[in-house]
């Protein structure tokens, strides 16, 4: 029996009547982005169901997931937040950069932590300014740096032309500044190619790429934009191994419509791929086969299901940390925030959970809400119809990224009247 579990169980036994630990799931199972929203929401909910069914909850307290449909719509996302926060919500993970921006002041005022894993406002990594927002283990700017590092690892980047095909929104524009800084540092030419929402028609953009022949293409897309971009790249016979997407452009949904032509396409990730981990045996036994899965159970092991499950796992581990710190099992949102700020993910802990080698090791602190910024590169194998990790979890260029985070968070602190610091 693990020491942490025993401690929490002891605390549990001494505690009075338990309520439950509330984890709202601001999901989108309908609308144009449903195909991506569904596996994430399934993974998120299934993990908590597993903890309830197998372990009796977290520290003995059952977890309760409240699902609220946002349709990936910012206004609806805010409505969901307002509708669920009174239920004792411990943490919000809205899976939308637009919703994240709207919720930052709200969660800060309400004292509820928000975790925006690999999305949202990048400079929220600075916990001295963004007290209630966390974006571990990696952020958009880490992603931009990972892509450049990977291109560099394959050959000299100096003098190369690199195109950024991006969703013409706050999300898609996030990496531009980082890439501009990196282009100065490494002497490559950056070519910006915006695509308007939703991105169903990208002929102009790919004709431009065909004309200007960039050596590499980096993509920050979401939804239909990804599938069309990969199809158009295949149409112009752009070499797929030179085409690399951010983690939001790296699900099975994005590559399957292009069939064999998508073979070799790369995508960044901050967690591992596939279902060859002990946790999936438990998920199938206690959740899917028991008929308690959030969805049909057909998404288990896909990139976005794994990401949702990973997000839930990190929330559960932060809950355990909070229970440990405060010595109570029925924690409050403020305690959850403390747990997130003290979260440490080690390989030993991941192995104990049933996810050995699934994600990077990282440690959160008051100053650093974003972890170590480690990421890996996955490549699509069309014949096997699966993603394969082709690198280990490697670091980003903190010399560039950290400087930008400090600048952006300082600007936010100034305009919001926040006095930065750790208490």
């Amino acid at each position: 029996m693990k020491l942490t579990t025993m401690t929490i169980a002891a605390v549990m036994a001494a505690s009075p009547v338990m309520a439950d630990l509330v984890f709202p799931s601001l999901s989108y199972r309908t609308g144009p982005y449903a195909a991506n929203g569904i596996p994430f929401a399934d993974g998120y909910e299934d993990y908590f169901t597993l903890l309830n069914e197998r372990d009796g909850g977290i520290g003995g307290v059952p977890a309760r997931v409240i699902e609220c449909e946002t349709g990936y719509n910012t206004e609806k996302g805010v409505e969901c937040y307002e509708a669920t926060k009174g239920e004792g919500a411990l943490i919000y993970q809205p899976l939308s950069t637009g919703i994240t921006y709207q919720l930052i002041p709200k969660v800060t005022a309400d004292g509820i932590p928000m975790h925006t894993m690999g999305y949202g406002r990048t400079s929220a990594k600075n916990g001295e300014v963004f007290s209630n927002v966390f974006n571990y283990p990696a952020n958009y700017w880490d992603g931009a740096s990972h892509a450049i590092n990977h291109i560099q690892s394959l050959g000299d980047i100096s003098g190369k032309k690199i195109a950024l095909v991006y969703h013409n929104s706050a999300y898609g524009k996030e990496p531009i500044r980082t890439l501009e800084e990196l282009s100065k540092k490494h002497d490559f030419e950056l070519m910006l190619v915006p695509v308007d929402h939703p991105g169903q028609e990208q002929k102009s953009q790919w004709l431009q790429i065909r004309r200007e022949k960039p050596d590499n293409v980096i993509m920050y897309g979401w939804g239909v934009m990804n599938q069309v971009a990969i199809q158009e790249a295949a149409n112009i016979r752009y070499p797929m191994e030179n085409f690399i997407g951010i983690w939001w452009s790296g699900s099975e949904n994005d590559v399957l419509p292009a069939g064999d032509k998508a073979n070799g396409y790369k995508a960044l990730t901050f967690h591992n791929v596939g279902d060859d981990y002990p946790i999936f045996d438990d998920l199938r036994k206690y959740v899917v086969d028991a008929g308690k899965a959030a969805g049909a159970g057909d998404q288990v092991g896909t990139a976005l299901y794994n990401r949702g499950m990973y997000a839930a796992m990190l929330a559960a581990e932060a809950t355990k940390t909070a229970q440990s710190i405060h010595g109570v099992s029925d924690i409050t949102p403020a305690m959850m925030r403390d747990g997130m700020e003290a979260l440490e993910i080690t390989e030993a802990k991941m192995a104990e959970i049933g996810l050995p080698g699934f994600g990077p090791e990282f440690k959160v602190s008051c100053e650093n809400h974003g972890g170590n910024g480690l990421g890996a590169v996955a490549q699509w194998d069309a014949s096997a119809s699966e993603w394969k990790l082709i690198t280990g979890f490697e670091g980003s260029d903190q010399e560039v990224v950290q400087k930008l985070i400090e600048e952006d968070s300082a600007a936010f602190a100034a305009e919001s009247g926040i006095e930065a610091g750790c208490s």
Binding site: A34, A35, P194, Q200, E201, S204, Q231, A296
Partner: protein
């Protein structure tokens, strides 16, 4: 020939091809508006529903499988067969005709003589309902659609233009297929409306409902017919757009591409939809090519509307729309 001119020619050709795809969506709007005065907000969702049904039938997917499994505790998802594309298209058309009957029987039959805004609102409701039914019936995952249409660069055009002009033009085989299908579709629609009894009845209804009624034409039948034809056009649009991106719920957003085409070409003209689509396609692509880089790119969505509004200043009824004359 200067390089920029060659690029502009390539962009123009691709703009024409994109315009055909826009026109395919706009055609469905025109057919229903012309015959019944209804602006069918659900046309984009009909394209989605038709494409979902087509893939579902082709793949032997059990409709409403999740619902059936949840109620009866079963685990059925597929029939275990694959239906050939042509047969699946035919079966999908049967579903679209049934949908047309249902729409007419359960919604619009009860709204005869109501204000146009009410009819429009009804189509908004229909759009959301159809999207929900499509989700429950076929699931929300992205589906690969392969009806055998060629896709990717056309090598013959690439090689020929390379040899003749020194620069190989990119034209997508799928776009060429779409252009051929659009020509056949429009020719078939014109032939239907000119040379068949039902087609002439449809034109009579489009011209004057009351006069058509007075000579014994069944409005109910004509409206089912026109919704069925719009369903077929939606299926064609769904196939073409679905082949590009996979069949997914964002397909319903292709309606946004049809609106500037309708504004420009007029709501009542089939040639208007085609010409409007081509003008919008070429206009937005050339603007993106010439001006886009100066203003940060991604101009196509908004420029299509600017172009349509410019035309409206001079021809409020659209290029081919009927001039509205109201006598007092």
């Amino acid at each position: 020939m200067p390089e920029q001119l060659l690029f502009a020619m390539e962009v123009t050709l691709n703009g024409l091809m994109a315009g055909v795809l826009y026109a395919l969506v706009a055609l469905g709007f025109v057919l229903i508006y012309k015959a019944s005065g209804i602006f069918n907000y659900a046309q984009g969702v009909m394209a989605l529903f038709a494409a979902l049904t087509l893939v579902g039938i082709m793949e032997g997917q059990v409709p409403f499988a999740h619902l059936i499994n949840a109620i009866f505790g079963t685990e059925i998802h597929h029939f275990g067969w694959h239906v050939p594309a042509l047969l699946a298209i035919f079966l999908t058309m049967v579903v679209m005709v049934a949908l047309a009957w249902a729409v007419q029987h359960f919604i619009f039959r009860h709204l005869v003589n109501q204000e146009p805004i009410l009819l429009f609102m009804a189509t908004i409701g229909l759009a959301f309902m159809l999207e929900g039914i499509g989700d429950i019936m076929w699931g929300a995952e992205i589906k690969k659609l392969d009806v055998g249409l060629p896709q990717g660069i056309n090598d013959w055009i690439d090689v020929t233009t390379l040899e003749a002009l020194g620069y190989g033009f990119f034209i997508d085989n799928l776009d060429i297929s779409a252009a051929i299908v659009a020509v056949v579709l429009v020719a078939a629609l014109i032939a239907f409306s000119q040379y068949t009894k039902q087609g002439r009845a449809l034109r009579a209804v489009a011209d004057d409902h009351q006069a058509a009624l007075s000579v014994g034409i069944s409005l109910n039948f004509i409206w089912i017919l026109v919704w069925s034809i719009a369903g077929f056009v939606a299926l064609v649009a769904g196939i073409m757009w679905g082949a590009k991106s996979g069949v997914q719920f964002s397909l319903s957003l292709i309606a946004l591409k049809a609106l500037p085409v309708l504004m420009l070409g007029g709501f009542t003209s089939i040639p208007g939809a085609i010409v409007g689509g081509l003008i919008i396609g070429v206009g937005e692509k050339l603007f993106e090519f010439g001006i886009g880089p100066l203003v940060g790119g991604a101009t196509e969505n908004w420029f299509a509307y600017v172009l349509a509004l410019l035309f409206l200043v001079f021809r409020p009824q659209g290029l081919f729309g009927e001039k509205i004359i109201e006598r007092v």
